[in-house]
């Protein structure tokens, strides 16, 4: 019996996290409490900042000195992380951030799940540079994707999000022990860094300058358009040229199906329930769970479209991922959203009704 907060915290610790700073916010406070209790036991540091800005600032500073850092918040806290996420991108700081989504806008409903921050995570900072976003659908995946997030952050020296929600983080569930222990059959992330490895401040080490300003590879401010162009192209390409490596989905395709259901996070569980039910009734239906929401696993999505005439996309927002899928598919495929923004998880029955039109 375990909840998502414990699974995520355990995942972070098992990934070698030794520094956490965060600020209390429902529904992410459980992660903060676990990390602040556990880190000193293993010689790490857990710090409660005076606000979210300070918390992520401490993480970035500690990472520049070599720490493996982690923080967690919810949508309102992500607003305050925004500017520093840009700094982490610019300084190429490995940084894992869990977002336990709650219903917005604003304070919204603090104790209700939502998936309204999917686009916000992708576009949360100035400049539009890419980030990586992973979305677990259940507790074992929360653990394994958290570990994976640390590998990706180290490899790409970039912020990596774990997009989760109140229900995944705060619901206690029975989980088979072997699903927690054994990693799913996902491709390994190579350990060698893309670009320069992290060069932490070290006594007797190379002198290193980190800066949020446009800079040379040595860390000195520059206004040279050629150097800036080269640097910024690299920031973009280091993620986008590795989409195949980052892409992670679960494709459950059925021969002869003309309907594909695509979902992610907690809503994917309702999708799975519907697929089981439909197939038991003799219907043919395919399903795609997207684990790597950003960068969009375009090829993996397109690989699922053979024979598909209709795509149903359940998500707890007004269609944020549906609009992304819209541009990937032929116009003759019908796209239908199942959307809820009223504190209640999308039910299998609603998806079923949409399926039967």
């Amino acid at each position: 019996m375990v909840d998502g907060a414990a699974a995520i915290a355990r995942g972070a610790l098992d990934a070698g996290c030794n520094f956490y700073a965060g600020y209390p916010i429902t529904p992410a406070s459980g992660i903060l409490a676990h990390m602040l209790r556990e880190l000193p036991k293993v010689g790490g540091i857990g710090f409660q900042g005076e606000d979210e800005i300070s918390s992520i600032g401490h993480c970035i500073g500690a990472a520049s000195a070599g720490a493996t850092v982690f923080t967690a918040t919810s949508g309102p806290g992500l607003s305050l992380y925004s500017e520093n996420i840009g700094l982490a991108i610019m300084m190429e700081i490995p940084l894992v951030i869990a977002i336990s989504q709650r219903l917005g806008p604003s304070t919204g409903a603090a104790t209700a799940s939502a998936q309204g921050d999917i686009q916000f995570m992708r576009w949360c900072t100035s400049g539009g540079y890419p980030v990586i976003v992973l979305a677990p659908t259940n507790i074992p995946e929360s653990y394994h994707l958290t570990k994976r997030a640390f590998k990706l952050a180290k490899r790409f020296r970039n912020p990596v999000f774990i997009a989760t929600d109140k229900d995944t983080v705060m619901t206690t569930e029975s989980v088979p022990v072997d699903e927690m222990i054994n990693a799913p059959d996902w491709p390994e992330i190579p350990t060698e860094p893309v670009g320069k490895p992290l060069d932490p401040y070290q006594i007797n080490g190379t002198i290193h300058h980190y800066t949020g300003s446009s800079h040379t590879e040595e860390g000195y401010i520059t206004k040279d358009p050629d150097i800036i162009a080269q640097f910024n192209e690299r920031l973009k390409n280091k993620i986008e040229s590795h989409i195949d490596e980052i892409s992670l989905v679960k494709a459950d395709l059925q021969e002869g199906a003309d309907t594909l259901i695509i979902s992610y996070g907690v809503s994917a569980r309702s999708m799975e329930a519907v697929v089981i039910q439909l197939r038991s009734q003799g219907e043919k239906v395919s399903a795609l769970t997207v684990y790597s929401l950003w960068p969009i696993p375009e090829k993996k999505i397109q690989d699922c479209l053979r024979g598909i005439k209709r795509i149903i996309i359940p998500e707890m927002n007004h269609g944020q991922y549906r609009h992304e899928i819209e541009r990937l598919v032929n116009r003759d495929i019908e796209l239908i959203g199942v959307n809820r923004v009223d504190t209640i998880l999308i039910t299998p029955e609603e998806i079923m009704e949409t399926y039967h039109g």
Binding site: M1, R10, H58, A63, A65, Y201
Partner: protein, 439 residues
């Protein structure tokens, strides 16, 4: 210590400074270089963290490590660096502007007493953006954003750090001959240190306000502010205190999940969605955990959601439990199979759920909570007579026992085993006593 000690910690190749003629910033950077020399520090032992503004140009002049981040946040990065690597000497260079936008970080770093040194380049206005008023602009001063004189009381930066417990707090001017010595004292202090260094912005503040060196000293006098060390305490630094926490906790066991092995069996053939609705203090969530754990011990799949107000010990408390022979995919409950009402607060909270219930569903209610507007069957929670004195204090565990007896979910023994495995011995003893009434 390094040998040979560099003559200067400033990179000659980047000189001269790009500061405006007469600007005091260069003097303070020189004093910092001199102080590092006094301390004979290896450049790789020092990290200079710069804020935004003219002072933010400073990082490139040093042969040390450097970090140039966002406006107002320099102290947070410095604190993170120091926490991770306490052997580094971390110095923040920040302006009065940075102390305004980052005032929250300033006063909290003083509270936390992280062992970083903050040098404030306080020249009473924003230089880089064109001479706007800042938090330290003297009353009635002319700036780009106070054309006939500023009307806001100036902030006392050193005083703010002082009252919030900063270990070493001083006020100085860029013209002080002993500024390098003062910086050395600040850096050698084990804990938060700050020097509020008053200086001149010759581009904007000086010409607009006839504010030269003499006027600045007079101004300090009119405010009854003094230069020199304002506070020096031996309060333990963050690192010292945190090391203590690490020492005290290192023998504690790491976190682990609650492992419940299947010991019983169940004949449940479809998911059962149960809602326990009561009031704070009735241990409703705990009873929900017992049902979920008992089901897990019986080889079933479970989920348990809790709903309660932000405040505790008041209002409703609702536990939603799904028990199923198959993995629980949808953990929400929009239509319970079973609802148990233990208090008016819980009853009111789940009105919507009870409205959705059908004839095949059942609502069990405690005394006085019947007569619900719902199609569901409604039955009283008929606890054994012997439990009368337990009802007030232990209604939730009684309800868990009652439901276990009424519904064919799992053996009653599994519920008792759950009590033994997940509850603290004292509470388990009480609850096993309560449950014995059902045998």
């Amino acid at each position: 210590m390094v040998e040979p000690v560099p003559d200067t910690y400033i990179t000659e190749e980047n000189l001269p400074y790009e500061f405006c003629p007469g600007c005091s910033h260069g003097k303070v950077l020189g004093a910092l270089s001199e102080s590092l020399k006094q301390q004979e520090l290896d450049p790789s032992e020092v990290v200079i963290v710069t804020d935004i503004g003219c002072v933010g140009l400073s990082d490139k002049y040093f042969i040390t490590h450097a970090f140039h981040g966002l406006h107002g946040r320099a102290i947070t990065y410095a604190s993170g660096i120091k926490m991770q690597n306490p052997d580094l000497n971390v110095v923040v260079l920040i302006g009065d502007g940075g102390c305004g936008i980052g005032g929250h970080h300033l006063l909290n770093a003083a509270r936390v007493n992280t062992d970083v040194t903050v040098l404030v380049f306080n020249n009473f206005n924003f230089g880089m953006t064109g001479g706007q008023q800042s938090v330290t602009t003297p009353l009635a001063s002319i700036t780009a954003t106070s054309s006939i004189g500023s009307i806001d009381a100036p902030m006392d930066i050193a005083g703010t750090a002082k009252v919030n417990g900063g270990g070493f707090i001083a006020r100085a001017t860029a013209f002080d001959k002993d500024l390098p010595g003062m910086i050395t004292k600040a850096m050698n202090h084990n804990g938060f240190s700050l020097i509020d260094i008053w200086e001149l912005c010759t581009a904007y503040f000086v010409p607009k306000n006839d504010f030269g060196r003499k006027e600045m000293m007079d101004y300090m006098g009119t405010l009854n502010m003094s230069s020199g060390i304002l506070q020096e305490t031996d309060r333990p630094s963050f690192q010292t205190s945190y090391n203590h926490i690490q020492e005290q906790t290192k023998s504690q066991k790491p976190m682990s999940g609650l492992v419940l092995e299947t010991k019983f069996s169940s004949e449940l053939d479809k998911p059962l969605r149960i809602v326990l609705a009561g009031a704070a203090g009735q241990k409703v969530i705990s009873a929900g955990n017992l049902l979920a754990s008992a089901a897990t011990l019986s080889g079933l799949w479970t989920s348990r959601r809790a709903d309660f107000p932000i405040t505790i010990q008041t209002g409703f408390s609702v536990a939603e439990i799904v028990i199923s022979p198959e993995p629980v995919l949808y953990s929400g409950i929009v239509k319970p199979d079973i609802a148990a009402l233990m208090a008016p607060e819980g009853k009111a909270k789940i009105t919507r759920l009870m409205n959705a219930m059908e004839e095949t569903d059942t609502i069990y209610y405690a005394k006085g909570l019947g007569d619900v507007d719902s199609k569901a069957k409604q039955l009283p929670l008929n606890f054994p007579d012997s439990t009368i004195k337990d009802v007030r204090k232990n209604i939730a565990v009684l309800t868990a026992g009652y439901l276990t007896r009424q519904l064919n979910m799992f053996p009653f023994e599994a519920l008792k085993e759950a009590v033994r495995q997940i509850q603290k011995p004292k509470i388990a003893e009480i609850n096993l006593g309560v449950l014995s009434h059902f045998e």
